[in-house]
């Protein structure tokens, strides 16, 4: 057994362990939820940080205004983060039209989302506040469902996250992200049950104001303040739960360049948060979050590196070798064609040609993935379109993952090199 084989074995083992772990948790999901009657709904501030969002902000604010919630109990704070487009004008127009509703606009110099949130947080006097990315839209019942979740649990609950969906995916890239978000929604539900959510997504996570203020607001030094705040809550033993039916729709990147930029931020942010909170890593004090969830998060990065290595070793290198061989025979492929056609081609896929071990593991991984996918779509209340789903899934499992692994590896390498240089 050589070194590459060993890497493959380890990668299989880790993948299988993680897949089975999630599967066991899926099969454990219970529907029983406490029925809670709320007589007087609490006031909620909704902070909408916006940078160059003239296209989406109107729909975004309108979705908030249309929430199934007492109008006087919703306060909207839009933070214009030094937009260069007409975001400011669009918001001012909405404010002048909707006089009966409480909408505040803060303009700040461009200084990032975390600072925008902190600036708005100074004005928040309500018990809860939500953060809503300007390119996202809430479904009518989302807020009530989220507030209900707060009342289902005790005072320790600091953040309730939504069930994030993709609003009508148009091109292929968006459709792939649609599959991804559905799976991620299910995983968040499982993490919620295990008390190990490590990210409070920008689209409509709702916070308990007092706790966030006590912990010092959002961190403006990280690339992923949405993950940082979640890690900080976990570190201080506050709970984060997902409200499984509180649907929020977000607009995904529609081209590779913006997807790359988004993921770069997620990967570098995620990685630096693992480093920042390394004291929690494998620390039994933090229970499942420290012992399993954080190692899982780190393994995601390691698996991306292994994936990229294997893709290079098993796909790119043979292609290079093939091209080199073509060069060696000076592109004269005629003799090969001659023998190719004159011989009887035996298509013998016998047992001899099969690596049984690999086949068994891959089959199991595939079956588990499909089961998870089925539950994910069911959980997201999305229909599986039979016609297009097969191709989409093939692309998702074999191309999208591979591409994201490359993005991850490049981002992390960039991060490590830059960090070294700074010191």
């Amino acid at each position: 057994m050589n070194r590459v084989d060993l890497i493959v074995w380890i990668a299989y083992f880790i993948s299988l362990y993680i897949a089975i772990f999630w599967l066991i948790n899926v099969l454990e999901i219970k529907k029983s939820r406490k029925i809670i009657k709320i007589k007087s709904w609490p006031s909620v501030s909704i902070i909408i940080p916006a940078y160059n969002e003239e296209k989406h902000i109107k729909d975004c604010i309108e979705s908030v205004l249309n929430l199934d919630y007492e109008n006087s109990k919703i306060k909207i704070i839009v933070v214009n983060d030094g937009s260069k487009d007409k975001t400011k004008e669009v918001v001012e127009e909405i404010i002048s039209k909707k006089k009966g509703r409480e909408i505040i606009l803060i303009n700040q110099k461009n200084s990032g989302k975390a600072k925008a949130l902190n600036n708005a947080l100074k004005l928040v006097k309500t018990e809860f506040f939500a953060c809503l990315d300007a390119d996202s839209f809430v479904s009518k019942k989302a807020l009530k469902r989220i507030i209900k979740t707060f009342y289902e649990y005790d005072n320790n609950l600091a953040i309730v996250t939504p069930a994030m969906k993709i609003r009508n995916p148009k091109n292929l890239l968006q459709k792939l992200q649609y599959v991804e978000y559905n799976i991620s929604m299910l995983l968040h539900r499982l993490m919620s049950n295990l008390n190990s959510i490590y990210v409070a997504p920008g689209p409509f996570s709702v916070y308990k104001t007092e706790i966030v203020k006590k912990l010092g607001g959002f961190d403006s030094t990280t690339l992923a303040e949405d993950q940082e705040i979640a890690y900080r809550m976990q570190k201080n033993f506050y709970d984060i739960k997902q409200s499984p039916n509180a649907f929020v729709y977000t607009t995904p990147p529609n081209n590779f360049k913006s997807l790359y930029r988004q993921r770069r931020r997620w990967y570098i942010g995620g990685f630096s948060n693992i480093i920042k909170y390394r004291k929690m890593f494998l620390n039994p004090k933090y229970g499942h979050f420290g012992i399993v969830q954080m190692p899982f998060n780190l393994l995601n990065f390691i698996m991306a590196f292994i994936g990229v290595f294997l893709i290079i070793y098993y796909i790119l290198m043979p292609i290079l070798r093939f091209v080199k061989n073509i060069f060696i025979i000076k592109f004269d492929v005629y003799p090969y064609l001659k023998t190719f056609f004159s011989q009887k081609i035996k298509l013998s896929l016998t047992i001899i040609d099969l690596n049984a071990f690999r086949t068994v593991i891959i089959l199991f991984l595939l079956v588990i993935s499909l089961i998870m996918l089925f539950f994910a779509f069911k959980n997201a209340d999305e229909k599986i379109k039979r016609k297009s789903i097969t191709l989409l899934l093939v692309l998702y499992f074999f191309v999208y993952y591979a591409v994201l692994s490359f993005v991850c590896v490049i981002s992390i390498l960039e991060f490590l090199i830059l960090r070294k240089r700074r010191w």
Binding site: N25, N156, N195, F357, R358
Partner: protein, 230 residues
């Protein structure tokens, strides 16, 4: 606000169950792998046994022809027998290579098969050379020495297989892996032709060391034969 918890839960039972299932699937995969590997060895062994018979057959034919000198029309029969045997030898090489690629554990069986394959190649080369001389066959045999640690050897392999495809059964290539240990006849041949570098080719008793590129090899082949297309 009252805080109750300052410690988090662990789900040890779940980790354990997950671990057990993972190990189970791994074991199923592992044992299936062992079974298939054994099947593979069996099938290669069966192949080499058939070759053994072919080789004995060929040697008998050759001996017989030696006895009844002068009956040159029998040479055609010998040529056909030789070609089919060498073709089978080539097939068994691709089986050995495939086995090397797919197997998860390299057993002693595998090393034994590789040695046997090497010896077969040398025996066939012997027979081919003698038959060629005796029957005046229009064939050319190339001894191709390579080694595991040689980086440029695959390039030579590509060029050789190019000409094998071009000339078909008239060109006999005998690949000899010089890194196989403890084979006396291999040492003898290496010493006789004074081969220390890999890849090396021996064509009609002349040694060519280092990678021989496409044009050079064509020239050599054409010098040694009077084949069409030269």
């Amino acid at each position: 606000m009252r805080r109750k918890k300052f410690r988090r839960e662990l789900y040890k039972k779940k980790y354990l169950i997950t671990g057990i299932f993972t190990m189970l699937i791994f074991l199923v995969g592992f044992f299936l792998g062992v079974i298939v590997d054994n099947q593979r060895i069996e099938s290669i062994r069966a192949k080499t046994e058939v070759q053994e018979i072919d080789l004995v057959d060929l040697q008998l034919q050759y001996d017989y022809l030696n006895k009844i000198l002068g009956q040159n029309d029998n040479c055609e029969v010998l040529k056909i027998a030789l070609e089919s045997s060498v073709r089978k030898l080539g097939e068994s090489l691709s089986k050995v290579e495939k086995y090397e690629k797919e197997t998860t554990t390299k057993t002693e069986d595998y090393i034994r098969i590789k040695k046997k394959y090497l010896l077969d190649n040398i025996r066939y080369w012997n027979v081919a050379e003698e038959a060629k001389e005796y029957c005046n066959l229009s064939i050319l045999s190339i001894l191709y020495f390579y080694s595991d640690s040689c980086d440029s050897c695959p390039n030579q392999g590509v060029i050789l297989s190019y000409y094998k495809n071009l000339y078909g059964d008239s060109l006999l290539v005998f690949p000899l892996d010089a890194s196989v240990e403890d084979i006396g006849i291999l040492r003898m041949i290496l010493l006789k032709y004074n081969i220390t570098k890999f890849p090396s080719l021996v064509i009609n008793n002349k040694v060519y060391s280092g990678v021989i590129d496409k044009e050079e090899l064509k020239e050599i082949i054409c010098n040694e034969t009077k084949w069409e297309g030269c």
